[in-house]
């Protein structure tokens, strides 16, 4: 499933959160959205999942305009993981994961598989509010997995922010598996090193504008990042051909 953004722009009152963003995320890829705070990452994510009606331009999923889709139609194509999920009821972990099937036929096997993939089977009967924030984030991931159609679109906003290193790594491996199985993954990330390690493509946002988009290796170039973040970066390659980014002091 491909995502295409055409001249997307959005304003919250007097604040212009997104300006003329045109980009494409393809099936089979992990596309990382990176940028400083308030650069428009979350607004872009909200535009893709139809949570806002952009004032300019449009978002398309498989060439269908998101704005023309009902919530149910969208739920059958894409799943969403917010930065922090708040559930206003004392549901169990399993009940929260089951919510992922709200617009879809009940599928116990999918729910159990989602719980297992996020290592939540032992916690399934625990009340969701009693979990740590990191555990809750894994439950939200499992809820999205229970919903995600085959070769569907998974949109995530900082999914690993509250996770420990092992579970963050596990989460990114899962995203890799989904992309390798033909799904499209669009993920907003603050951790540039993790983005460099896992993303195939990247969109770099700066003050609501798309500063760069394309292969992650090109977009996450130290000089480009320094221009946007105001911090120096060093690139370190590993034996598997992947690279990491290390922040250093700002260059004079």
């Amino acid at each position: 499933m491909n995502v295409r953004l055409e001249h997307l722009g959005h304003r919250y009152g007097a604040v212009e959160a997104l300006r003329d963003v045109t980009a494409e995320a393809r099936a089979g890829n992990i596309t990382a959205i990176v940028g400083p705070n308030a650069s428009g990452k979350s607004t872009l994510i909200r535009g893709i999942i139809g949570a806002i009606r952009p004032q300019w331009g449009a978002a398309f999923i498989d060439n269908l305009p998101v704005a023309s889709m009902s919530a149910r139609q969208l739920a059958r194509r894409a799943a969403y993981v917010p930065q922090r999920s708040v559930v206003a009821a004392a549901f169990t972990v399993r009940e929260v994961v089951e919510l992922g099937r709200y617009a879809l036929p009940r599928d116990v096997a999918r729910i159990e598989e989602a719980l297992a993939r996020l290592e939540l089977t032992d916690l399934a009967a625990r009340p969701y509010p009693a979990l740590s924030v990191g555990q809750q984030q894994r439950v939200t991931m499992a809820r999205a997995l229970a919903q995600l159609p085959e070769r569907g679109l998974l949109v995530l906003d900082e999914p690993t922010a509250a996770m420990d290193l092992r579970h963050a790594e596990r989460c990114m491996k899962l995203l890799r598996e989904i992309a390798d199985a033909g799904g499209a993954v669009v993920v907003a990330m603050h951790d540039l090193s993790m983005a460099a390690l896992w993303a195939d493509e990247a969109w770099l946002l700066d003050d609501g504008r798309l500063a760069a988009s394309g292969p992650a290796e090109e977009v996450l170039a130290p000089d480009r990042l320094e221009a946007v973040f105001g911090v120096g970066f060093e690139r370190v390659g590993d034996s598997e051909g992947r690279f990491r980014l290390l922040a250093s002091s700002p260059r004079a």
């Binding site: 799943a79 089951e98 919510l99």
Partner: protein
């Protein structure tokens, strides 16, 4: 999230037994002409009045309890109650206005009885105002609803005080009696049928909305992403809760705390899933109001029986504080 669990089934059976016990108790208990408490099967005329009392209490209990569940889900606030939207204040203003206008036109006050039509008119007017002003970007917004509800209550309260200031003393006591909430044994059959049908339809609709309300416990963006049309759901919940509350107020006056306590009591026993919760809360509503009315027959105070609204406030107030302090006031 579709099957009813064994624990929930047992909980529902327990609540149904308690509701049946409350109904039977209310049917059997009465005070004799010498004010003594008597337990026996009533004669036919008395039985008719008592059946009406039971019906009024049950309908008001179910309506307020279901409305409470809907509003706690709609406002994402476990401490919300049916009167948070200014409906009772609107109803009270409707009654006060009718009583005062009647006085100006030379009609005598109804003597502490029910005022279904003015109450209904006032409640629905308040509901319309809250609906029109409680929207943001074209859809109902929980925070705006609460704020507008508080403002509507305050304005209605000020107008009630103004009318009370203008009215002679006898008229004030009529309104005060109505404001206490009372289970009347002589309600017109048409009103009973209309409000009974509203309560049953509201109960069925509330149960049918259960899965959607479960999904609505997620934040708006996330709820939409799993396929929930959150705007239309909020509108349906608001209208349903408003009509149920208006019906209960028109029937028995503004009886407090039932809509707050019944959902929590049911939640403790049945868990948070809304379809089961709506059914359980309705049964708790019957237990509270029919049982409360029976208890009020036992508590003999000078000048007559204790109004059931006073009883529910005396029981509900401490229960509310316990919920807050024990941390059980969570959804």
């Amino acid at each position: 999230m579709r099957r009813i669990t064994r624990k929930q089934l047992i909980g529902l059976v327990i609540l149904a037994v308690l509701a049946a016990a409350a109904i039977i108790t209310r049917l059997l208990i009465y005070r004799g002409s010498d004010d003594s408490l008597i337990w026996s099967w009533p004669e036919s005329g008395i039985a008719e009045l008592r059946r009406t009392s039971i019906a009024v209490a049950a309908i008001a209990g179910v309506s307020l309890a279901v409305s409470g569940v809907l509003l706690q889900a709609l406002l994402r606030n476990p401490l919300a109650s049916p009167f948070i939207l200014g409906i009772s204040s609107g109803a009270a203003l409707g009654v006060m206005t009718a009583v005062y206008v009647g006085h100006l036109m030379g009609r005598s006050a109804a003597g502490g009885g029910a005022h279904p039509l003015p109450a209904l008119a006032g409640a629905l007017t308040a509901l319309c105002i809250v609906y029109l002003l409680g929207q943001r970007r074209g859809w109902l917004d929980p925070l705006s609803l609460v704020l507008v509800g508080v403002v509507v209550s305050a304005i209605c309260g000020a107008l009630i005080m103004f009318l009370q200031h203008l009215a002679p003393h006898g008229l004030r006591s009529d309104l005060v009696t109505w404001m206490m909430g009372y289970i009347h044994p002589d309600v017109p059959a048409a009103l009973l049928i209309a409000t009974g049908a509203t309560a049953l339809l509201g109960l069925a609709a509330g149960m049918a909305l259960g899965r959607a309300m479960d999904a609505g416990t997620l934040e708006d963006d996330e709820a939409r992403s799993i396929g929930l049309a959150i705007g239309p759901l909020r509108l349906v919940m608001f209208l349903l809760a408003g009509v149920l509350t208006s019906a209960a107020v028109a029937l028995a006056g503004p009886i407090g705390f039932v809509g707050l306590i019944a959902p929590h009591a049911a939640r403790l026993l049945l868990g948070p899933r809304h379809a089961v919760l709506v059914a359980g809360a309705a049964l708790v509503g019957v237990v509270l109001l029919v049982g409360g009315d029976a208890t009020c027959q036992v508590i003999n105070v000078s000048g007559g029986r204790m109004p059931v609204g006073v009883f529910t406030a005396l029981v509900g107030g401490p229960a509310f504080i316990w919920l807050l302090r024990s941390g059980r006031g969570r959804a």
